[in-house]
Symmetry: C2
């Protein structure tokens, strides 16, 4: 079941000899990074949690983690790369629900019905950990702090969705794209990656779908942001040259909204 942990070693020079122990440690550390940051457990419990994690081999663009309707077995944690989740209609169209970056957990919405209610597709070559949920539940019975962290994790997801709800319900196209870029920036920063210089693994089409905007609108906004000096954009490569201004847009937006809606 547990595939050996080569998934974390893409940066290792070819031909270099590596001990089995060093692989195990590297993988452990990677798992620690991605799981324990959100879960915040004590070291000895991390050990026990680690023992139930499955490390699958790397996935490639277009691979599915799961599809809507699949029986729910595991949560997934992105280690490297990115994954999109989406709901799909019988006709083959889709609605993007989220983009998931390293350290983020996928599948929390499937616990209730014991079946996945959306699909998860890999956007670029990615490493993903699998957490069998049954095992996780068993473990959380014996580790109260794990249980507490699970509650927090689920609660955080709810609070996050609430923010998205505000975004889509109230904000202009401009604010939506700014919020999206700022969110990416902050999530990259949290993972030690550059918050101002990154590649978008998703298409303009997917961004528009996610934000409730037409592709053309997204494209025009990128152009306008570029002209206004907020960022440099070359196809999928983004450089945020004026992060403050983008933050200001996002912060300011709700204030204006609220001013109009005084009851």
């Amino acid at each position: 079941m547990n595939t050996p942990a080569l998934t974390t070693l893409t940066a290792v020079p070819e031909g270099k000899v590596i001990s089995f122990e060093s692989i195990r440690v590297a993988c452990r550390n990677c798992t620690l990074m991605t799981l324990c940051l959100p879960l915040g457990l004590a070291p000895e419990d991390v050990e026990r949690l680690d023992s139930i994690v499955r490390r699958n081999r790397p996935l490639h663009r277009g691979d599915f983690l799961f599809q809507s309707g699949d029986r729910f077995r595991s949560l997934f944690v992105v280690k490297t790369g990115s994954v999109k989740t989406f709901a799909q209609s019988p006709e083959g169209g889709e609605q993007v629900l989220g983009f998931h970056l390293p350290g983020e957990i996928i599948g929390l919405d499937a616990i209730d019905k014991d079946a996945h209610v959306c699909s998860a597709k890999v956007l670029e070559t990615s490493a993903v950990c699998e957490l069998p949920f049954g095992r996780l539940e068993e473990l959380s019975v014996t580790i109260p702090s794990l249980q507490h962290q699970m509650y927090r994790l689920l609660s955080k997801e709810i609070a996050h969705e609430t923010e998205m709800l505000l975004l889509l319900g109230k904000k202009s196209a401009e604010d939506r794209l700014a919020t999206f870029l700022l969110s990416l920036s902050q999530r990259f920063r949290k993972r030690g990656l550059s918050p101002t210089d990154f590649y978008l693994s998703m298409s303009r089409h997917e961004i528009g779908n996610y934000l409730g905007l037409a592709v053309e609108t997204v494209s025009r906004l990128f152009t306008r942001f570029h002209e206004e000096g907020l960022l440099k954009v070359d196809r999928k490569h983004i450089q945020l040259t004026n992060l403050d201004a983008i933050e200001a847009m996002v912060i300011r937006a709700p204030v204006e909204e609220f001013r109009r809606r005084i009851s």
Copy 2:
């Protein structure tokens, strides 16, 4: 702490003599209805859960269950009446996050930060149960099935928010109001109330705020739905005279959307 359970007896004729036992049982049953439906526990565990529930005296329009920033202590379950949750800006404006009907739980988004991230205000005279979360967590350590139900509850909330996300991101004003009305209808039905004949406890302003629409748009839509024979509306009193047509609108909407967004 535990206020006597007169909250559930509003229908009892004045002057009628009631034994203490009958009050206790009535209240227990009410709690059972509201809590165990979503939680789905075994009877003996329900007993234990019931023992930690606080039954507060009835609340009135404008009362707060909690305000944004308050320390998180308890979840709340609406027994009768209705409650709205909203985020507010320093300027005093607000953004409605949800309307909560009998049987529904409030406060799940506060677990993560151990503080409330939104405020909850009572819309009409309401009875609300309080579940001290610390006690609930302790209990869920000793009752694995309660833990499982808690996970399900939180997961269900995430899935629900996801649906709202689709609603606000993609649907027309017409579809939003139809979805809103259908949601109310289904939730009333689930609680044994009429799914086609009910009073709105919230203002047009609050509905518009919730759905991301201007008050005027909401008003115009009610008029149009009335003209089209979908419903009868007299101020806050709503009668859905063609529930099928409303369902058809909601179902059909995503299909058209998806057709346009084929990748």
